[in-house]
């Protein structure tokens, strides 16, 4: 199978050579990118074809031979120095590859070929540091997000029901990159006011039905810009009633009245309940009220537990396929309901979940995929990447008294020894900085090199980057099992920078921290929560 490389300037194509004999040993793990290249450059082409991995084949029009280095891949010198610093894990295809070709393997191979030039410090338009990692190009990404808040042309009509997300994505991304987002406070307030419905909640726009997604996006945006006027424009009492109407007798929440029910609903609803300090009791007017079902949280974690699949991951609703975005929603939901050390193992099979989440990270790409046998995508840097701080807190806290969760809890020194993480921070950071940055004047971050940037990916790729650059601590207070549904555990997180001797990115490329559960600036949720808890009950 051959894959033409689309980038301009390339006059050769890269051939992915399947292993002929299933029993052949993979290339030695010490083979570096440059040695692979050296082989490619010096060997007889006949030889090359016997090597697994990729080799270079001239196109009929090519006249420069095997010029992998100079044939349009930037400065050969820069390339040579940086390639030497990049672990071959990120520059060579996986060592085991099945001969059988299917649609899935074809797409996967294409994605690897698409990413390799970016990962090997060989892409035009990118400036790499000594570790083979480009800088975070703030001067293009920041204007990209500011622009997304200005007037949008007619084709954006397809986003007419999800405009509030545009506010949230842009503000979160801008904050992460160091911008002052309070400059948007007044305009945000006047923009969202006509979107709130008197019956509680916000819709996608003026006159649209209330929906949990835009309500989540707007509430968090208001919390981000902060200030009394912003926070107090939310009609909490109406919101509480509306949440009661969305609550289902099986424990779940509908996204809108008569709408779908899924894990997003569970997460969005508890975020609102928590930040706005809403009463937990379920209004008897709620269609789901019964003597056994009297609070907004009744049956909710049990319902979330039903979304764990045989694979170990979490699906959007029971019976469906494990999916990274829902894994984050489920874990974050549980971490609002209680102490992660107790509540996660109580409702989820943690070893299977960790195994599934861990398998989402691919090499050489380094990024996360959303499902088994799907492709890496920048947004999972948050959806999957954001699960790690929550799970690590679940594992590394002082052992709770609960016996079975103790059985796999890991002592702090052990995690320290693992580079303080269960996943490869380096892999994720390489994928983000090498493959997810739009290198044209457009700016913004993206799914993968063949995709255009958008504010959704810009936000979640940056959130993933932030999470990979920081370590979160859950500051336990007391016995987690006695705390029960404490409702305060979501406010017990603090962060510190991950500083490594062999740090692959420069300090200027570190972004600001986002709360591991609410995904807004660290401290914003705490302030909003404090503001509302000072209010009288209604």
């Amino acid at each position: 199978m051959t894959f033409p490389i689309k980038e301009k300037g390339h006059r050769h194509r890269v051939v992915f050579k399947r292993r002929r004999m299933p029993g052949t040993n993979p290339p030695s793990s010490s083979a570096s990118a440059s040695s692979t290249l050296d082989r490619a450059l010096s060997s007889d082409p006949q030889d090359l074809h016997q090597q697994p991995g990729f080799v270079i084949e001239e196109l009929p029009s090519g006249d420069e031979g095997l010029d992998f280095l100079s044939g349009g891949l930037g400065h050969p010198v820069a390339m040579a120095t940086s390639a030497a610093m990049i672990p071959d894990l990120f520059t060579t295809p996986p060592c085991i590859r099945d001969p059988l070709n299917t649609g899935t393997s074809q797409l996967q191979d294409e994605t690897i070929q698409e990413c390799l030039p970016y990962l090997s410090g060989a892409e035009y338009g990118l400036e790499y540091n000594a570790q083979g990692v480009p800088h975070l190009d703030r001067k293009r990404h920041i204007p990209f997000l500011h622009k997304s808040l200005r007037n949008l042309p007619a084709p954006y009509v397809v986003a007419d029901a999800s405009r509030p997300w545009m506010f949230y994505w842009a503000l979160t991304g801008l904050y992460a990159m160091g911008e002052d987002i309070t400059q948007y406070r007044d305009r945000l307030i006047s923009t969202v006011r006509p979107i709130q419905n008197a019956t509680g909640g916000f819709g996608g726009g003026n006159g649209q039905m209330s929906h949990l997604a835009p309500t989540y996006a707007i509430t968090l945006s208001l919390a981000m810009v902060g200030g009394e006027e912003a926070l107090d424009l939310i009609d909490r009492k109406a919101m509480w009633k509306w949440l009661g109407a969305l609550k289902q007798s099986n424990g779940a929440f509908q996204m809108s009245i008569g709408g779908e029910e899924d894990v997003r609903g569970a997460y969005c609803a508890v975020v609102l309940i928590s930040i706005l300090g809403l009463p937990l009791e379920l209004s008897p007017e709620s269609p789901s009220w019964s003597p056994e079902h009297t609070t907004l949280l009744s049956g909710l974690p049990e319902w979330v537990a039903k979304c764990q699949t045989f694979e170990g991951g979490i699906s959007g609703k029971p019976d469906a396929e494990s999916h990274g975005a829902y894994a984050f929603c489920a874990l974050a939901c549980l971490c609002i309901l209680g102490d992660p050390r107790a509540i996660i193992p109580k409702y989820l099979d943690v070893p299977r979940l960790i195994s599934w989440l861990s398998a989402r990270q691919y090499a050489p790409e380094g990024g996360f995929a959303g499902r088994t046998n799907k492709l890496v995508d920048g947004c999972y840097s948050h959806w999957v990447g954001g699960c790690w701080p929550l799970l690590e807190a679940c594992l590394e806290g002082p052992s709770p008294s609960h016996s079975s969760s103790e059985s796999y809890s890991i002592k702090k020194p052990a995690l320290e020894a693992l580079g303080r993480s269960l996943y490869s921070r380096e892999g994720l950071i390489r994928y983000i900085l090498c493959c997810c940055q739009d290198e044209t004047k457009r700016g913004g971050l993206r799914d993968k090199p063949s995709h255009n940037s958008d504010s959704y990916h810009t936000c979640y790729v940056l959130a993933g980057l932030s999470s990979a650059q920081h370590k979160w601590h859950f500051n336990a207070t007391g016995n987690p099992m006695e705390a029960g549904l404490t409702r305060s555990s979501a406010y017990q997180w603090t962060s510190e920078k991950v500083v490594e001797d062999s740090q692959i990115y420069d300090e200027e490329d570190r972004v600001r921290t986002l709360h591991p559960v609410f995904v807004i600036p660290e401290g914003a949720a705490e302030e909003a929560r404090a503001h509302f808890s000072s209010k009288e009950a209604f």
């Binding site: 085991i96 899935t104 499902r371």
Partner: protein, 520 residues
């Protein structure tokens, strides 16, 4: 511009000769204005002191005329004055040409040619005539509507058609197409509600006129809670412009149900929309609402159920042709299996077709697991996907293990069947060790001298690490995990190291048995 006044003092001052053709209507009006004040022009060109006595007298009279001061005089004096004016042939001065303003394209009307201006005036007269007629039509309908207390009013189709054409014509004349709903007499009773965007709205979208108008009418019908056939047209129209509009879908659904609209008709329309909007998920929720409504009406009719099952499966096959991993379609399929009780061999075969074309389609694997291990015929209701279900028959578990094993031989590095096998073993309550020999087909650990190592599947190695931990063969398990971290799955090194740590703590075995039930 003004031509020179004649020199002869006795001669009548002549008005400037109007040119035959004026470039613009404003030039023409200006010339006419000057032509009606010859003595003013004369005075302006020659200067008052250079006028002859008779010219001075005529100028004075012209001034009286212009200022209207003569109207304050006595009747006799007035009569005398008018007589003089007549003798001196002083024309009545025309008023200063007024500003003609701009047309609807922003052009100065003053810049029209005189002919263009005449046409413009004619069009204006035509327009106001049409508008008057249109207003009378609306008034008549409104009155009739009030009499009928809001119920539909019968107007002859002809009359409505006439009015529709009239509005089209109005649109043409005013050079600005009338909106679809504004131009449709059937919508006259609805006052559209414009979008309130707030001051300096963020990320405001420049809607097309068509979309903005339709949304204005939707807000109005929603506010009035109107559920009528025309709402179906309106929602279809909006969906054609923006299929990701949940409000429109939900309102359409409630309208369909209020009207008891035929579900099969709606389903086939939704099929078209879905094929054109692969990524849209509102469609699938809408479809679910349709089936929820349809099902009770056919639940006792096995033929009807079977027909529905077949047509739905065919449609999903079409969708999978474009994207066999479409999450929304699969979620809908899981819903449908429970709703129509499709825990049957046709369903399993249909999944096998997909797996034959791509054995790595994890969505298909996931669906198979659901169909096999949620079948109410033999499963414990509500048993968690990660939990042992003692009611699972051994032959079912054997069959599924066999199925997954076969797939594993096709592509050992395909994670899907490995996850599936683990899932089956957990469900059936069997030990991982029961498949040790199978997994070893893909793994040869190196001998002590480091020779003979052959690993064809990192997932097999992972599986064996758990098997050996289960059997307390810790050293072998440790080797397997080390190989994974150092060689076969290096990106997950931290994870494998963590697993090694568990091995040291001797909890790996305990951990495996851990399930939701055990903890709660």
């Amino acid at each position: 511009m003004a031509p020179k006044a004649p020199k002869a003092p006795k001669a009548q001052p002549k008005a400037p000769d109007p040119p035959e053709e004026y470039p613009t209507i404003s030039a023409k009006l200006q010339a006419e204005y000057l032509a009606s004040r010859p003595y003013q022009v004369l005075k302006d060109t020659k200067g008052l002191s250079n006028l002859s006595a008779s010219e001075k007298a005529a100028y004075a009279n012209y001034r009286f005329l212009e200022t209207g001061v003569w109207k304050t005089w006595g009747a006799a004096q007035q009569k005398e004055f008018l007589k003089t004016v007549e003798t001196q042939k002083i024309p009545t001065p025309l008023p200063l040409p007024r500003d003609l303003g701009r047309d609807n394209k922003g052009r100065e009307i003053a810049s029209y040619t005189p002919e263009g201006f005449a046409q413009f005036r004619k069009k204006e007269r035509q327009l106001s005539g049409l508008r008057r007629e249109s207003a009378r039509f609306r008034e008549r309908r409104e009155k009739a509507r009030r009499k009928q207390k809001g119920r539909g009013i019968e107007d002859s189709e002809g009359e409505i058609e006439d009015e529709r054409n009239r509005r089209k014509f109005i649109g043409v004349l005013q050079g600005k197409k009338m909106g679809i709903y504004e131009g449709d007499p059937r919508w006259d009773d609805v006052v559209p509600i414009p979008q309130d965007d707030g001051e300096g709205a963020l990320a405001a979208i420049a809607y097309s006129d068509e979309y903005a108008e339709a949304m204005g009418y939707l807000r109005a019908v929603m506010a009035a809670k109107e559920h009528s056939p025309r709402v179906l047209d309106l929602t279809e129209h909006i969906i054609s412009m923006n299929a990701a509009h949940y409000t429109v879908w939900l309102y359409r659904a409630s309208t369909l149900f209020a009207l008891e609209y035929p579900i099969d008709k709606e389903l086939s329309w939704v099929n078209e929309v879905a094929l054109e909007n692969q990524k849209n998920y509102q469609i699938w929720h809408h479809r679910q609402l349709l089936i929820d409504t349809l099902y009770p009406t056919i639940s006792s009719d096995p033929t009807a159920i079977h027909a529905l099952e077949t047509s739905e499966r065919d449609f999903m096959t079409q969708m999978f042709d474009q994207d066999a991993k479409n999450y929304h379609v699969w979620s809908y399929r899981q819903y449908l299996v429970r709703k129509l009780n499709l825990f049957n061999t046709t369903e399993l075969q249909s999944i096998e077709v997909l797996l034959r074309s791509d054995v790595r389609n994890n969505s298909a694997w996931s669906h198979r697991f659901f169909v096999v291990f949620s079948d109410p015929a033999y499963c414990t209701p509500g048993s968690a996907a990660t939990a042992h279900d003692p009611r699972i028959p051994a032959d079912i578990a054997d069959r599924e293990i066999g199925f997954a094993k076969a797939a594993t031989f096709e592509a050992p590095q395909n994670q899907s069947p490995w996850n599936y096998i683990r899932g089956v073993l957990r469900k059936a309550g069997r030990e991982l060790a029961s498949l040790e020999a199978f997994a070893e087909e893909f793994v040869k650990l190196p001998s002590e001298s480091g020779e003979g190592e052959d690993v064809r599947s990192s997932h097999a190695l992972d599986f064996l690490a758990d098997v050996w931990a289960e059997k307390d063969e810790t050293a072998k398990a440790d080797t397997a995990l080390r190989l994974l971290g150092d060689k076969y799955d290096r990106i997950r090194r931290n994870y494998w190291e963590w697993r090694r740590g568990l091995l040291d703590a001797g909890v790996e075995g305990k951990m495996k048995g851990l399930s939701v039930e055990d903890v709660s």
